[in-house]
Amino acid sequence: MKPAGMHFPCVAALCLMLFARTLEASGLVNTNMIRTVRLTQLPFVHEQVGVVVQNEHASKAFKTYTALVDDEKATHLASIKVHERKSGAELETVQVDGGRYRATLRRALQPGEKISLNIETVFVNTVDARPARVKQTEDQFWEWADAPLVPSAYATRKQKTTVHVPSREAATTFGPYFDSNANTTQISVAFKSNNEQLEALTHRREYLVSHWADDLNVLEHYQLRSRAPENDGPFDKVAQTVSKYMKVRDNFVKTLLVKVPADAREMYVVDEIGNVSTSAVSGRRHRAAEDGGSFKIMQLRPRYPLLGGWNYTWWHGYSVPLSSHLRTQGARHRLKVPFVGSIAGCAAADDQLSVAMAERQNTAVAAYELRVVLPEGAANIDVRMSLAADSVRRQPFSYYFDSSGRTVVVIKRRNLPPDAAHQSVLVMYDYSVLSLWQKPLVIATAIFALFMLGSAVNRLHFGLAGKSHKKKNKKQQQQQQEKTLDNSN
């Protein structure tokens, strides 16, 4: 525990008290608040705020509760959910503006009544390395730091914060603080963690639907950065080589493990300058813990091992049978695909890799884009998904031999939460048999037209003294001869 900054600026205190007064007037009061921060799944930071809310207003009943998120932390927010603690029911939560989220209570809170709520938030990349630079083989240390008080739209009587870190059993507790009076401006916890942490600066996943080939092509494009502390001093090849052969731990992320469906085929890994020839696919099928589906593991080795702060960009892809993702009712097609794939960075050497490593979630996606390329002629497109998206758009797109073009559904979202990997997207569209035959017909017509054109051009003669002229001349000559003959006769 390291309470930092012991003094408390008077101005800030005054402001806060004024603020608190105005809030109190609204009538809702947080009588008790317990914030639990779990840092065991970095770079994801799970915060759960258990709060007892009491309506102290004389007459007014409250239908909603507003949760606040710091402006600074709001850019790192991956998800926010509000549950009623007693029933466990999730409350409908909408973003009002900036960092204000309004949850609608299931039943209006009458004057004098109390309710317990759980506000669960996930932030990504809010924990930084301290020191920011270490040597290749040294341990990594991290520091979680935050304000001691949970921001709230309402007055808070009592609150405390508990922090769980990966390296220690015992949790660290700050508080309790009464009536928003903390004797510090910042609380922080330092801890050791050598777990790999990666950040996908951008990640794009593309589905390409082909009805002809019964093929669903998946393409995943990553721009990845290792969040490990940067290297202190120059790169040390000797140390790297030695730790490789001596099997000593170092901070290089050497392998990226990608779970792919068991029926995936035609896999490839490419980056901007060609094939990444060092990748492999494990032949064994594994059974997923959550949904029971089976998967294989693609062992992807970047061209160079990733040290802290190093970037790597690549894309990989594979095909799966379309039929396992598509349900058809007449012309109506329902395509159900995973919202996002999973990837796990791994610092372990090749012979120490395990399936459990592939199941870890240590890659936070900062900017995500999902593209579903529907077949040419798909109409009445309807997209459903459980995860909120920042934007859902439809774009025209042309692919191999398209004549009328097709539609791409583009879904964008910032900061994916860890449970996004278990979500799926349902895209429904109409696709008629005629559309299926459109492409072959267009191509056949085009080739036939070319053939006709070629044959027509072949029959024409462009020369000045062409055959036809000669023929004509001959005919004329003949006629003339005949005439002269006639005349002579």
Partner: protein, 759 residues
């Protein structure tokens, strides 16, 4: 005539067969060039192709105008390079056009794939063009054989495998096409064909510096015809049209510009053009004068004009009005010239004289058929054959002087091979049976091989050998009309005779068939084993037969691309300049363009200097990273230490006071790298960067696997720090340190902190 098959007449059948054969040849030509893609991947090979690829990408992304006016500030830092004006844009424009055409019909291919497969596709076109050329000069049989040879000749494949995206990939096609069109233009005296020739020539000029070969070859042909007294109006029309249009067109390429008007390489064409006008004028005069006087007059005039032209040329060259020959040209006459005067040209392996084994390696049996083809050409010696003989002579000379020019020799060797092989076929399969039949009975075609072959081939001399080959066809033709019948006794002995005649025929044909099979075998083997390695990616074979890909170059380049500042300047020897620009996308100081010898020498000097001098120069040039290639770990012999002597030589050429080649040999006169190395060698940046801390990982008494020498025991490096080293130590990248904050020297700082690498 044979009966109709599938409703086709015999003529249609043969043309269908020809199209089929040509199609198959094209397929084989493309197919055999795909080894590299199958073995490795669809990747751009070697060095220059990376520049072509990068510029093609730029063209596709930014459009033609921007491409044309492109000033690339990321090359030749700090000088920059006017890219649009210093390249042959043909190949880029071709690829971009293909790319855009494919995208227009919604085939979203990547530009890289267009570039990778451009050369194989064009090699199929080359085969077709060779067929046309062979048909033009001899017969369809010769054409088909030449096309088949051309399709898989290793001499051509060496520069046109998939991924070898270089100018030669399309230029050889254009070379053959231009020559074919020229010969046709001369035969027909057609201004239209001459104009098409000029257009093909223009395309060639836009594609490859080797166009100079055409603009000397065609005038030479015209001049030779003039000198042989074969002047005709057809030649006049063809040459004048070609020269005027072709020269004007070629001047539209900025890189060529006004060169056709003032450089020595183009003077022969101009002179021949003048002679042609004089000859035409003489033709006019001839009409007015008696023949004998005219002859002497013409002779005198031609000789006088030629002498005056040469004298004028000499004077203009001497006074500098005509640009003198370039260094590369001098080295064509004197192979030792470059080594003495311009080490940078001599340092390129493809500019070395050709070892004689290469001729057999690249051409196989064609090298034996080639002289035979020349012999047959001499026998006929039409205008076309004059051209072939001249082409053969000059191309053989140039191919002997420079390895790279094997490329220009290959087409003529293939055509000559086609001609001689066609002659063999025609004498042993075609004309043979018919001449036999003249003495034999009508039912002589029992021998199915010779008979059916003869049946087919018989048409060729009859149809394809044109009237201009009067001498040849007269010999065969005299035997053609077979007197029918003959009595049975005669028939009996004739059958015996025929049987005896059959033996050598079968033997010869079997022999040649064997040769042809061996040719195909050899070509495939050479292609697969020698010419299909991308050199960007290396493959090694484990004892158990599995291939292990060594991808260190791309590892290093990609590391630079993703983990250095976008405007970082990377210093390396010029060999890697294009690859750095293409794969690492970083600013380079020198690259494979080698247009500025001084700048290259400066880089050589940095590599050859001691640490402090190198640091000062590198900092003055804003260098952020230094990249060296080191093969000592893996035994990769093409590394920088092995190229180091060339760097020293080139640097010495410009900085003789600072760099001396002799300093780098030790007392025993050896080029050593270990503890017995000369002081200059051990102090040099190249040596330090290659061996920095290498012995720590290899253990005490380790060896450099390339040099087979013991490693130096102590290597210190203070002004530069290791930034990245690839898996097999093949590429080592160093960061140029910033100046010390306290103004100390880096040596002092390192001494204070305790040095690494000094073990």
């Amino acid at each position: 005539m044979a009966g109709k098959v599938l409703g086709l007449t015999a003529v249609d059948q043969t043309s269908l067969l020809r199209i089929g054969i040509l199609g198959l040849i094209s397929l084989v030509a493309i197919g055999s060039r795909l080894y590299s893609v199958l073995r490795f991947e669809s990747v751009i090979h070697e060095f220059d192709p990376w520049f072509n690829y990068r510029t093609t990408r730029y063209l596709v992304d930014n459009g033609f105008d921007k491409f044309w006016n492109w000033f690339d500030e990321t090359a030749w830092y700090p000088l920059g390079r006017v890219v649009g004006g210093t390249l042959y844009p043909g190949i880029m424009v071709t690829s971009a056009a293909i790319n855009n055409a494919l995208h227009a019909v919604n085939i979203p291919v990547d530009v890289r794939n267009v570039c990778v497969f451009l050369a194989p596709v064009f090699s199929a076109l080359t085969a077709v063009a060779t067929y046309k050329l062979g048909k033009e000069v001899q017969s369809e049989t010769a054409g088909l054989l030449a096309a088949a040879f051309m399709g898989i000749a290793p001499g051509y494949i060496s520069r046109s495998v998939a991924g070898s995206y270089d100018n030669e990939g399309i230029a050889i096609f254009l070379l053959v096409l231009t020559f074919f069109l020229w010969l046709r233009a001369v035969r027909l005296g057609s201004a239209a064909y001459a104009a098409v020739t000029a257009a093909a020539y223009f395309y060639m000029v836009s594609a490859w510096g080797g166009y100079v070969f055409i603009i000397n070859m065609i005038p030479l042909h015209a001049f030779a015809l003039l000198a042989m007294g074969r002047y005709s109006n057809r030649l006049y029309v063809a040459y004048s049209t070609f020269y005027v249009l072709g020269t004007l067109a070629s001047m539209q390429i900025p890189f060529v510009g006004f060169q056709p008007t003032f450089t020595s390489e183009h003077m022969a064409a101009l002179g021949t053009f003048g002679l042609m006008q004089i000859a035409a004028f003489a033709g006019l005069v001839r009409a007015q004068l008696p023949a004998q006087q005219f002859q002497t007059l013409v002779r005198a005039a031609v000789v006088a004009a030629f002498a005056a032209g040469c004298a004028g040329l000499a004077v203009l060259t001497a006074t500098g009005a005509i640009a003198p020959w370039t260094g590369r040209f001098y080295s064509l006459w004197d192979t030792a010239y470059a080594k003495v005067h311009i080490p940078i040209i001599a340092s390129v392996s493809e500019h070395q004289p050709t070892p004689w084994t290469n001729f057999f390696f690249d051409l196989n049996i064609l090298i034996w058929l080639f002289p035979a083809g020349i012999y047959f050409s001499f026998r006929q010696l039409t205008d076309h054959h004059v051209f072939l003989v001249l082409y053969a002579l000059f191309a053989s000379y140039f191919a002997g002087v420079m390895v790279r020019l094997m490329l220009t020799l290959t087409p003529i060797v293939c055509v000559m091979g086609g001609i001689s092989m066609a002659n063999v076929f025609e004498s042993f399969l075609g004309a043979g049976p018919t001449s036999d039949a003249s003495t034999g009975s009508a039912n002589s075609s029992t021998d199915s091989v010779g008979g059916s072959g003869g049946d087919r081939k018989k048409k060729n001399p009859a149809k394809a050998v044109p009237k201009r080959l009067a001498g040849e066809s007269a010999q065969d033709g005299s035997a053609q009309p077979a007197p029918d019948g003959g009595d049975t006794q005669q028939g009996q002995s004739a059958r015996q005779k025929r049987l005896y005649a059959l033996v050598p025929r079968v033997a010869v044909m079997a022999n040649f068939l064997y040769f042809l099979c061996m040719y195909q075998w050899h070509c495939s083997w050479v292609t697969s084993s020698a010419y299909s390695s991308p050199s960007v990616v290396l493959a090694s074979r484990a004892p158990d037969g599995t291939t292990h890909i060594i991808d260190d170059f791309r590892e290093a380049y990609y590391w630079l691309r993703k983990n250095t500042e976008a405007d970082a300047k990377v210093l390396s020897w010029w060999d890697y300049g294009y690859q750095l620009a293409g794969m690492a996308d970083r600013t380079t100081l020198v690259d494979n363009n080698t247009w500025n010898n001084t700048h290259i020498a400066t880089v050589g000097r940095i590599m050859a200097s001691d640490e402090d001098t190198a640091y000062a120069i590198a900092r003055s040039l804003d260098v952020n990273y230094v990249l060296v290639v080191f093969g000592g770990m893996l035994g990769y012999s093409g590394d920088d230490i092995n190229k180091f002597l060339w760097m020293i030589r080139i640097a010495q050429g410009v900085y003789p006071d600072h760099v001396r080649e002799n300093d780098f040999f030790n007392d025993q006169g050896q080029y050593s790298i270990g503890d017995s190395a000369s002081p200059a060698m051990r102090a040099s940046l190249m040596h330090k960067m290659s061996y920095y801390r290498f012995n720590e990982v290899m253990g005490g008494r380790a060896f450099d696997r390339v040099r087979k020498q013991q490693l130096p025991s102590s290597v210190t490096l203070d002004n530069f720090e290791e930034a990245y080293t690839t898996e097999n130590w093949m590429v080592r990248i160093y960061r140029v340190k910033d100046l010390d904050n306290l103004g100390r020297s880096h040596h002092a700082v390192a001494a204070l902190a305790g040095r690494r690498g000094s073990a």
